[in-house]
């Protein structure tokens, strides 16, 4: 991510990856793969949201809470007859506003405290959803959330929904990438690197972190709403502590720097539970082990392996040219 210019090979790689993703419904053996890919798109948005927060040096264990808020807001508004395409954005906005208010208070805290309080927030979101049963349907949740329709075209079935989810995920990816390259992105990275030094360079690091938290949680709200309209259902169980943990796992396993890490994390960990389904009870144990082993041996995520490999290639290439010059 350090190189300011993009090589043609990288353009090509991105194009091929996007083309593969777009063409997936045609070569997928059955609908289940399309479903998995849609879930992957939604997960990618959530993990990117988390990555933006992490870029500014904080980890959020309450990410699921914002997805839950977004899901309920969009479900309730669209049940009242609002167009779902609009309520998706309102959901993101509501989550962002809550995050801004909460972040302004709790982002004075050092990393660990912040995690604990953000986490407590997500518990409260679940409790409120359970408790206000006259509005939210309590533990039963809300069934029959209207599907998204674009200019009268209703996204009811999986093959129709997938392109929309993919579009949203790619847009989020692009936005995240642009954000990382913007001055704000640099300020975020600097804050994560050394908060005091950044502060002394005249940057309001508290504000930078609040902005990052707001953007990331807003994306989570949008993604939660998207998922709700896809599954046409939401309940307090949709986004629990373990969902927040699984997004964090994807981010950590994939890598926290750059946009490649979240993509890799989602690609590896979204299908993993399905692959492990045959192992029954071992599923979660393996999941936990993957997380711990990754942290032990690849603490910067799988994406860091790509960077290490690239750096090594560069060294080999330069030494090869040196040798070529010396040996006539």
């Amino acid at each position: 991510m350090k190189s300011p210019t993009i090589k043609p090979a990288q353009y090509f790689g991105v194009l091929v990856a996007v083309a593969l993703a777009v063409l997936l419904p045609w070569f997928a053996p059955n609908q289940f793969y399309v479903h998995l890919a849609t879930v992957g798109c939604i997960n990618l948005m959530l993990v990117l949201g988390l990555a933006i927060i992490a870029r500014a040096g904080q980890l959020s264990m309450g990410h699921g809470g914002f997805a839950l808020v977004g899901g309920y807001v969009s479900a309730l508004l669209s049940m009242k007859g609002w167009p779902p395409l609009l309520t998706l954005f309102i959901a993101g906005l509501v989550a962002a506003v809550i995050a801004a208010a909460l972040g302004w208070i709790i982002l004075r805290l050092r990393g660990v405290y912040f995690v604990l309080v953000a986490f407590a927030f997500s518990q409260i979101a679940v409790l409120l959803a359970l408790d206000m049963s006259s509005i939210t349907g309590g533990a039963n949740g809300i069934v029959g959330v209207p599907p998204i329709s674009i200019f009268g075209y209703v996204l009811r079935a999986k093959p129709q929904f997938y392109p929309f989810a993919l579009g949203c995920a790619l847009a989020t990816l692009l936005l995240t990438w642009l954000l990382y390259r913007s001055p704000l992105g640099t300020m975020m990275a600097a804050t994560a690197e050394n908060q005091r030094l950044t502060e002394s360079s005249g940057i309001d690091t508290h504000r930078v972190q609040v902005i990052a938290f707001t953007i990331g949680s807003g994306i989570a709200g949008f993604a939660g709403a998207l998922s709700t309209h896809y599954l046409r259902f939401i309940s307090p169980d949709s986004y629990t502590f373990w969902e927040s943990v699984s997004y964090l796992t994807m981010l950590v396993v994939g890598g926290r720097d750059g946009v490649l890490g979240p993509v890799i994390g989602v690609l590896v960990l979204t299908p993993l539970p399905e692959l492990l389904r045959s192992t029954e009870g071992l599923q979660h144990i393996i999941y936990g082990t993957v997380l711990v082993v990754c942290l032990m041996f690849v603490p910067n995520g799988l994406a860091s392996l790509v960077q290490i490999w690239r750096a090594r290639q560069r060294v080999i290439a330069t030494s090869a040219t040196l040798v070529a010059k010396e040996v006539p």
Partner: protein
Amino acid sequence: MSMNVILAQTVVNGLMVGMIYVLMAIGFTMVFGIMRIVNFAHGEFYMVGAFLFAILYGSNEMQFAVSVFLAVGATALLGLVMEWVVFRRFRGNELNGMIASVGVALIIQNSALLMWGSSARTVPPVVSGVLSVGGIVFPWSRLVVIIGAIIAVVSLNLLVGRTRIGRAMRAVAQDAEIAQVQGIRVDVIFPAAFALGVSLAAFAGVLMAPVLSVSPFIGLAPTLKAFVIVVIGGLGSVPGAVVGGLLIGLIESFAGTFVSASLSEILQFLVVIAVVLLRPQGLLGRKEREA
């Protein structure tokens, strides 16, 4: 029932739950203070302790004292293994250590699920009968929990405050490097402190097993409470954990009796926000020296 009786019983319930939270929070805050690891798996050790006690005392009908000793000892051993395999690699690396502990929690909880099944077990009460003071009755089963927890807290206080190893632990918590220079074997103190923290969680599990039912999923709730309490009391502060734990226990008991259980959760969250706003280092926490 008169108001007095309800009040007295609410207080006893609050103290009981509060003391369990205190035990959980002390272990949690000790591990953080000394190893700088936020242990999301803390409640899983509580669960393991409760389960082992349920099996030894409930199913195998071993003696009470033997069951307690074996359950806490075996859990401490599990803690030592986890420290040795996982946690020692993340010492001082707060964020990665925290995420790794989530992985450990997943592993322990689901292993328990595989081994012991998902159905809840009940443990026969250790004592029966009631204590009546001035017309107000208290069930002994709850008083035993409070007394047991008080004994644990007092003996921990003596251990940390009066013994050599306790002093070494305090030194390591203050500054591991300087402690090492003074000749303290840091690589012994870390596992010892971790095992001690875990034993407290296991003991809390043992105490609660006869009062509540035991299942592989009971670990998460006390972990969450431990988080809330240490934020209120101050991360790394043992007296803070005691005050915070009792406060949360009483809030829970009073709000649960007079209003509703979920209001008590929201109230606790508001207390946390208020503490964070007014006294970010916690009620009894010391301001941290920034590195």
